[in-house]
């Protein structure tokens, strides 16, 4: 607990040193969690097309500047890569991995897109809000349509949201189409607006399972995750999920509230998402260093005041 607190504090200091960024890291990923035979060195997770359900993200929420939207995300892994080369394909050797996440965001602007549609921008909530990010080891692929098999009680990596760099969505003014255009329509004619957007997120990793990540430790390292995703409707590459997890453990929230046209007249808004994740690993500074950094932060306003007055 103490180590996590130290890590979190250090992370804040690192953020304070604005403009200074460390390169994304390589790390060992043990694909079977059992040591020999499964270890690969990687630098990124490329997630398969998955789902995002934006609770209170539909126009009927109602959506307005200042509104809080909570996003639930789930997807299967496609592969883990090193410098763009595939090191492990999901399902190889019977090992499957999924990701689930939840975070809240605040609407900062809603504007016409110039083509008969609208664009909404989002940012962090003004007050801290619960969030989670979890990678789970599974025995099979999660079911996109059912929305099951994504969460877990014991994630192999977990984290919390620390910054929404960019989050946006634009809804086209074009005529709505079938929501589920991936293979057969499993949504009985449910319609959707045409939309596109993205989320570019920064997270603090708060826990790792050393059996799967033998070179990572939240006790001795500050691990930052950069995760970004596209958001589109209608669904072309996977099925819209009928259930999500609000706890990260298991499907517990049936997808409802989409209205007759997803993104037009519902309180919730479902998107297809395609994300990827990388990690930046840094050593936790020694306590003396933290004290120095803290002192430095304290002195910044003083020095700034002196500079202004001079």
């Amino acid at each position: 607990m103490f180590k996590k607190s130290v890590a979190a504090m250090s992370f804040c200091c690192a953020l304070g040193a604005a403009g200074v960024a460390q390169a994304d890291s390589t790390f060992v990923f043990d694909t079977n969690g059992a040591g020999a035979g499964g270890q690969v060195t990687v630098d990124a997770f490329d997630w398969l097309f998955g789902n995002v359900l934006a609770l209170n993200g539909g126009p009927a929420a109602p959506l307005a500047v200042g509104s809080i939207v909570t996003d639930l995300y789930q997807a299967n892994l496609n592969s883990v890569t090193l410098s763009g080369a595939n090191q492990f394909t999901n399902g190889a050797g019977g090992s499957f991995f999924t990701v689930v996440a939840s975070f809240s965001e605040r609407v900062t602007a809603i504007n016409p897109d110039g083509s008969g549609g609208i664009t909404a921008n989002f940012n962090d909530t003004l007050t801290p809000s619960p969030s989670f990010f979890q990678i789970c080891a599974q025995s099979a692929l999660g079911s996109d349509l059912a929305g099951t098999g994504f969460g877990c009680a014991n994630p192999i990596l977990s984290g919390v949201l620390t910054d929404i760099l960019v989050a946006n969505t634009t809804v086209s003014g074009a005529a709505p189409q079938l929501l589920d255009q991936h293979g057969a329509d499993d949504w009985a004619g449910q319609l959707s607006v045409l939309s596109g957007g993205s989320a570019n997120l920064q997270l603090l990793i708060t826990g790792v399972n050393s059996a799967y990540f033998p070179t990572l430790s939240t006790g001795t390292q500050i691990i930052t995750s950069f995760t970004n995703t596209s958001l589109i409707t209608p669904f072309h590459e996977t099925d819209p999920s009928k259930c999500f997890t609000t706890t990260g453990v298991a499907c517990n929230f049936a997808t409802t509230g989409l209205g007759t046209v997803n993104g037009l007249n519902g309180t919730n808004f479902i998107f297809q998402a395609d994300a990827n994740t990388s990690l930046v690993v840094a050593s936790v500074p020694e306590p003396a260093t933290i004290a120095l950094l803290g002192l430095g932060l304290v002195m910044i306003p003083v020095l700034s005041k002196r500079r202004k007055s001079s």
């Binding site: 604005a18 008969g116 996109d144 960019v166 709505p176 189409q177 589920d180 329509d185 596109g196």
Partner: protein, 551 residues
């Protein structure tokens, strides 16, 4: 803001009454080994790659109406089966894409934060999507920006619609509002270059013009004609999962698919990628992109057509059943002999959408007019050359020619320029009172041209019947002059006893004329404004294929 939402909801609710009919994404047969067999593939998941908005950061920022071109390139991560299981790329193979999409800004939500849609008035060479495969080293290199369009093209298409396009690229989006290192993927290869923080996405649809049968086995031309591919990509900065590319490809490989143009665009990002640009010059904006792709049967645009073609001929070849040695046996070079090729009408021949588009090349190889190359809309042609109009005529296709095409004839016109001319060609045109020079010497000189083509069955260069009705084929040919597009052409089948006889009696027909300047001229020597060059004949070699237009 509430008013914006209410207006949007009301207007879209009205359009919801006319719900767009869309078919489901389709499973396609694809052979990752290129051996001509196939497995079921539902989609392609591309790796983190690159995109650059060329002209995306102009002096004083983007405004509504600003235009830029999105160039993007990436390697394939994997194929995805219909059940979402992963199909890895075979060892030793590498699949890549390159695309170019001209866009116009429709709204601005802050500095360098535009909404955009397809710029349908852009030069056609700015619009392409290509998939490539190679099985030899070196592999594509994200940092260098090389190797993304080499060895073998397996898909060629044109973007027909940017469904949604938006980007938020602002300093204020970065932690503490501070610019970040541009290249955060492992070592910084950009010497400390900074960037604003960005996020956005581009979602587009593209018509497919060609598919390689080794990798996309079993597709008939009719199926290719009906196939649309959907692409969507996230766009972020700074780079975390891939290196920023130092170069991009700005041209496709044309109708022939070879040679592939070398990467030629070096992004000019200024001091801070996406930073406020107050003094110019126009800068670019570069971002990391992560795309995926699916396929879907499209719907035909009624009353429209496009054409792909290539062939050779001798002017005045009026015998539809006697071919092959016509030019080579013409020792005196009494007639012009020529080759031609291109594609016209894609992505859309709808004038309201900015079409027609296309590229046309005509090479007069020998004869009185000498040796010259005339082209319009090709990637190497001046931007001022353009195919401006098409006319689809003579409803009902000859079978099996373009099985689902709805027309047998297509005429098109535009302005083109001369790429090369030998001394014979220059003197020939001088004798007609026109000082024609290569466009390298006269860059602003463009000339009106008009083409009249007939797709009269397969194969395109000879009748398929053992006893063709040659006499009526020649009669039709004599009546079907290269007249202005608005002039009705004779209907082919009306010259024959029945459709079957008609469609097995004739080779395809190609006619072309060039005028003395950019002004349209008429056919025939009695016209007060005759063309300076005109040829026509049944094809000696090659084929003309008319297709429907799909969206």
């Amino acid at each position: 803001m509430k008013r914006v939402l209410e207006y949007f909801a009301k207007s879209l609710a009205v359009s919801a009454i006319a719900v767009s009919v869309a078919t489901a994404s389709t499973t396609i047969k694809f052979d990752p080994n290129g051996a001509g067999s196939g497995i079921d593939v539902g989609s392609f998941d591309w790796l983190y790659g690159n995109a650059v908005n060329v002209g995306g950061n102009p002096a004083n920022g983007l405004v509504v109406g600003s235009k830029f071109v999105i160039l993007s390139q990436a390697k394939l991560n994997s194929f995805v089966a219909p059940d979402s299981s992963i199909i890895p790329v075979p060892a030793g193979k590498e699949f890549t894409f390159v695309y170019s999409i001209p866009v116009v800004v429709t709204a601005v939500n802050g500095p360098n934060s535009p909404n955009y849609r397809l710029d349908t008035s852009a030069p056609p060479d700015q619009n392409f999507l290509e998939l490539w495969v190679k099985d030899t080293l070196p592999l594509a290199n994200d940092l260098a920006g090389t190797g993304f369009n080499v060895t073998k093209r397996i898909l060629w298409g044109n973007v027909t619609n940017v469904v949604t396009g938006l980007l938020t690229a602002q300093l204020g989006a970065c932690p503490s509002g501070q610019a970040q290192l541009f290249d955060q993927f492992h070592a910084d290869d950009y010497g400390g270059k900074l960037t604003v923080c960005a996020g956005g996405s581009t979602q587009f649809a593209a018509d497919i013009i060609t598919l390689d049968a080794d990798y996309f086995p079993g597709f008939t031309q009719a199926q290719i004609d009906q196939l649309v591919t959907f692409f969507n990509s996230s766009n972020i900065a700074p780079f975390h999962q891939a290196d920023p590319s130092q170069k991009f490809v700005s041209d496709d490989a044309g109708a022939a698919g070879t040679p592939s143009p070398a990467p030629d665009v070096i992004p000019n990002l200024g001091n801070v990628n996406g930073g406020i640009n107050t003094s110019g010059p126009t800068l670019d904006f570069q971002n990391q992109a992560d795309a995926n792709q699916a396929f879907q049967p499209g719907t035909e645009v009624p009353g429209t057509c496009r054409v792909t073609y290539g062939g050779n001929d001798k002017n005045g070849n009026v015998n539809p059943a006697s071919f092959g040695s016509a030019c080579s046996s013409d020792k005196g070079k009494l007639q012009n002999c020529y080759t031609f090729g291109g594609q016209v009408g894609a992505p859309t021949a709808d004038p309201t959408q900015g079409g027609p588009f296309g590229e046309h090349t005509h090479h007069n190889v020998s004869g009185p007019a000498g040796d010259f190359v005339f082209r319009a809309g090709t990637h190497s042609a001046p931007k001022s050359t353009r195919i401006t109009a098409t006319a689809c005529k003579d409803p009902d296709a000859c079978q099996p020619a373009a099985a689902n095409a709805k027309f047998k004839q297509i005429d098109f016109e535009g302005t083109g320029s001369f790429r090369t001319l030998d001394a014979t060609a220059i003197n020939y045109f001088k004798s007609l009172g026109v000082d024609v020079q290569p466009d390298s010497a006269k860059p602003d000189a463009v000339y009106y041209f008009r083409v009249d083509m007939d797709d009269l069955g397969e194969p395109g260069n000879k009748p398929s019947s053992k006893h063709p009705d040659t006499a009526n084929a020649i009669k039709f040919f004599n009546d079907d002059q290269n007249n202005p597009l608005a002039t009705a052409d004779p209907t082919f089948i009306s010259y024959f006893a029945d459709k079957k006889t008609a469609c097995t009696s004739s080779a395809d027909v190609y006619q072309m004329l060039i005028c003395r300047d950019a002004t349209p001229c008429g056919p025939g020597t009695n016209n007060p404004n005759p063309p300076i060059y005109a040829v026509r004949g049944f094809l000696t070699g090659g084929n003309i294929q008319i297709h429907p237009i799909i969206k």
